[in-house]
């Protein structure tokens, strides 16, 4: 009998219409990094939330060091030394890093805050684990990476020995991911136990000792990483083989569908322009990828392209029509579909039902309304049809609230809506962020099917693998400019990296301007 620091035995947790955890068992050893793997909606976040006391399981028990414990709220979890970095950070934006770290366990005399000692302790921890932070910076002013370090320090400050990370790498840059994985290993070496949720199999292979796999709320198994492979893990996870190589047939490139000419976009953060005079074309039947490190103007450019922001100069031509000043609706009708970067903010109305979200781009068409009144049965039929065609899974079908759906299925709903409407060009911004390998494969297939239908696809991605495998042509953005145009078949990841970091540049062939 091994001795485990935490045992979660036969945990069952239900939500309306769905059993999120069905009789799941998970054992955590002291000093190990334990990965938790599963498709979107498999119940990973639910399971760790039960351990952290955010949800109460209907059935099952939790043991710490062999003794049964009740965890009714995060306070109980904290008393047992359990800490968690949530999928969506729980930081107060207008507080400083230090204030966020001590919140809830504030050192005080008679209720008055005593920050000096706390600061010393935080800086010691920061130095010891290489978690660089500025204790006096406001959360709203620091990078996502530093916010995450603040979250980790929050756990270490509380001297937690069981550390839960819910998809910590989904929001980080490749460099930050490397640092984080190293920190996790260091923590495990120290004797802390790390429970780590991720969709990226490479990360699991690199950092974890063992991995527990869930599928659709059920326990599939726990494996030692030493004796397994990526392929086996993904088979356990989705129940079939996943191909990591993307198959693309050759297609004919057609005429230009989207043409961007000398577009400049001002920045909201600083006085310089975020996007500086960029020009390129997207043709029907090709996937053009806008690559680059986060924060080099991609977000601002996409906002201008899709009409969320104004350009300060330049023109955007879609299917022969100048849409530079058109409204978002007009752009959509003229043939632009958009899978936005932030699916919660720009992709869905979280408190609307799935069916309402699915007709957001079309409810005004005669098919769905009559003199201003929505034709509900038409909406329902259409939604059911899309749900089936694109395999969008949810607790209650068309009437599920978008908020309660898992990330992957929220993304599938957006994709269904955007692909199913008439379009000439599909703008997809980080469409696979936070998604499981099955969903990633699915989305890549959808993008490629658009291309094969002769549509243009503009893909914005931060992930090198995706950039190299999916695209037909790569444009690298650096500091608001396009610094290189590459052919994925003739280039290497290393070379791409050089362009992305600004170390190398070539002048873009100015085909578009020659016309």
């Amino acid at each position: 009998m091994e001795n485990y620091i935490v045992e979660m035995l036969n945990i069952t947790k239900e939500f309306p219409g769905i059993i999120a955890n069905d009789n799941i068992t998970l054992n955590l050893k002291k000093g190990e990094v334990h990965a938790l793997l599963g498709e979107n909606g498999a119940g990973k976040s639910t399971l760790v939330s039960v351990l952290f006391g955010l949800y109460q399981a209907e059935k099952g028990e939790i043991k710490k060091n062999g003794k049964e414990v009740k965890i009714n709220n995060p306070n109980d979890a904290n008393d047992l030394g359990i800490g968690m970095v949530h999928q969506h950070f729980k930081l107060v934006e207008i507080f400083t890093v230090l204030e966020n770290i001590i919140l809830g366990v504030e050192p005080n005399t008679l209720g008055f805050l005593q920050k000096t000692d706390a600061r010393k302790k935080v800086m010691e921890l920061s130095g010891k684990y290489g978690l660089k932070i500025n204790p006096d910076a406001l959360i709203e002013e620091i990078s996502i990476g530093m916010q995450q370090r603040a979250e980790i320090l929050k756990m270490l400050y509380r001297e937690n020995e069981i550390l839960i990370f819910d998809e910590p790498t989904a929001v980080l840059t490749p460099q930050e991911i490397k640092e984080l994985l190293k920190i996790m290993r260091d923590l495990a070496q120290e004797g802390k136990s790390v429970l780590f949720i991720t969709h990226k199999l490479n990360e699991i292979i690199e950092v974890a000792d063992r991995c527990t796999v869930l599928r659709k709320g059920k326990y599939i198994g726990t494996v030692d990483i030493k004796d397994t492979t990526k392929e086996e893990l993904s088979r356990m996870m989705v129940g079939r083989d996943i191909s990591f190589n993307i198959e693309k047939k050759l297609t004919e490139v057609k005429e230009v569908v989207l043409s961007v000419k000398n577009v400049t976009v001002p920045s909201k953060l600083h006085k310089n322009n975020a996007v500086k005079n960029i020009s390129f074309d997207v043709r029907g039947g090709e996937i053009v990828c806008l690559a680059g490190i986060d924060g080099n103007g991609q977000t601002e450019f996409i906002s201008a392209l899709t009409g969320l922001e104004k350009v300060s100069s330049g023109t955007i031509i879609l299917g022969g029509k100048d849409i530079t000043k058109s409204s978002i609706r007009k752009r959509s009708v003229s043939g632009m579909s958009h899978i936005p970067e932030d699916r919660h903010k720009h992709g869905l109305i979280l408190d609307y039902s799935l069916e309402e979200n699915l007709v957001l781009q079309r409810y005004w068409q005669p098919e769905f309304q009559n003199k201003g009144f929505i034709r509900f049965h038409a909406v329902r039929n259409y939604a059911e049809c899309l749900i089936k065609k694109y395999d969008v899974r949810s607790g209650q079908g068309p009437i599920t609230m978008a908020r309660s759906m898992s990330g992957g299925n929220q993304q599938k709903a957006i994709i269904a809506r955007e692909i199913d409407k008439d379009h000439e060009v599909l703008v997809a911004v980080q469409p696979t962020r936070g998604l499981d390998v099955g969903a990633v494969e699915y989305i890549h297939k959808q993008l490629i099917s658009r291309r094969d239908c002769g549509k243009g696809v503009l893909l914005v991605s931060l992930e090198l693998d995706e950039v190299m495998n999916v695209s037909d042509r790569i444009l690298v953005m650096y500091e608001g400019e396009i610094v290189g145009e590459l052919d994925p078949k003739k280039t290497t990841v290393q070379e791409l990296g050089l362009y992305m970091s600004g170390a190398k540049r070539n002048t873009v062939k100015e085909i578009d301007n020659a016309e």
Binding site: L54, P74, K90, L91, N100, E106, F112, R403
Partner: protein, 321 residues
């Protein structure tokens, strides 16, 4: 110079109720509960304060001591009244704006009814002199003495005292830190073991206490200890909301905003004393619109930049993610 003294002496008793009520609003909103009910809470506090004064005025107790006790009575009644808001908004998760509006409508009517029944008038008229001609010693300091310690009310000093306490509680204590977290990101507060419901009850209760006291101070410093069901507190509760927003939900800025509005109001009532304004020959009634028009203008221009507590107005529900 004497005009300046006059303006300051008259401005402060007006500024103090605005300050206190706006600070109350700040505590409530920074904990996450929109408090439109301030007008009602003020009037409730003013009414019980005045009622207390009415019954005690025959005794030989010193007027300044009566203010102190009246303050406690008013603060306590404000607290009780605010519990209706917390119960509806926190426990029952009701819409905070509607709850606030209904609490505001209830009070003037209740006061009128009560006064008609028991006093056969529209309100409570007391006969007490709270005015301080000159504070001994301090009143003799050149300039300062005349500005702050002559022809004034005890309420001014008390109000500033409450401001200092508020700043300390808000920024220097564990309680303040937790309260502010609940108004910004209640899920974050919850995840580190803070009881969001309790903190919100506390925030609204403080606004009840300060609102009630503010109402009583309004009745003392502006209405000479009377309360009337028709005119109520003349929209001061709403003005305090504007002061709070103009003050960006921060105590020191709220003080400045309160002084600004009080100055405008005092100016409007003292037009005859200022030759330049008097010579313009505009009917004085127009000037009385000044603080209210300023509210609209100021809010129209500052609202774009203002940053309200992020979670205010949204009932906290543990189950949502």
């Amino acid at each position: 110079m004497s005009t300046v003294y006059y303006l300051i002496q008259n401005m402060l008793p007006v500024a103090i109720p605005l300050l206190l009520v706006a600070l109350g609003g700040m505590f409530s909103e920074r904990s996450g509960i929109v408090n439109i009910a301030l007008e009602g809470i003020m009037l409730f506090g003013a009414f019980f304060g005045a009622l207390f004064v009415f019954f005690i005025q025959k005794s030989q107790i010193d007027p300044q001591v009566i203010i102190l006790i009246g303050m406690v009575v008013a603060g306590f009644s404000g607290l009780i009244y605010s519990l209706l808001l917390s119960f509806a908004a926190v426990t029952m998760k009701a819409n905070q704006t509607i709850t606030g509006v209904s609490l505001n409508m209830l009070i003037p009517a209740a006061i009128l009814l009560f006064s008609k029944m028991f006093f056969n008038s529209d309100g409570i008229t007391t006969n007490m002199n709270f005015y301080i001609r000159k504070v001994p010693v301090l009143g003799d300091i050149p300039f300062i003495g005349e500005m702050f310690f002559q022809k004034t009310y005890l309420t001014v000093v008390l109000g500033l005292f409450f401001l200092v306490i508020s700043v300390i509680v808000f920024y220097k204590t564990r309680f303040g830190l937790r309260l502010r977290a609940c108004g910004e990101h209640p899920q974050a507060a919850d995840s580190v073991g803070i009881n969001v419901y309790f903190m919100r009850y506390a925030g609204v209760s403080i606004s009840g206490i300060l609102g009630g006291i503010g109402g009583f101070f309004y009745s003392v410093g502006v209405l000479d200890g009377n309360v009337n069901g028709h005119t109520g507190v003349a929209g001061f509760g709403f003005l305090a909301l504007a002061v709070m927003i103009f003050g960006q939900w921060k105590p020191i800025r709220i003080l400045l905003a309160a002084l600004f509005f009080a100055f405008l109001r005092t100016l409007a009532y003292s037009v005859v004393l200022i030759p330049f304004l008097d010579n313009l020959g505009i009917n004085q009634t127009y000037y009385k619109m000044l603080p209210y028009i300023a509210t609209m203008v100021v809010l129209a221009f500052t609202s774009r930049k203002s940053r309200a507590p992020k979670a205010e107005g949204i009932p906290y529900d543990k189950a949502l993610r």
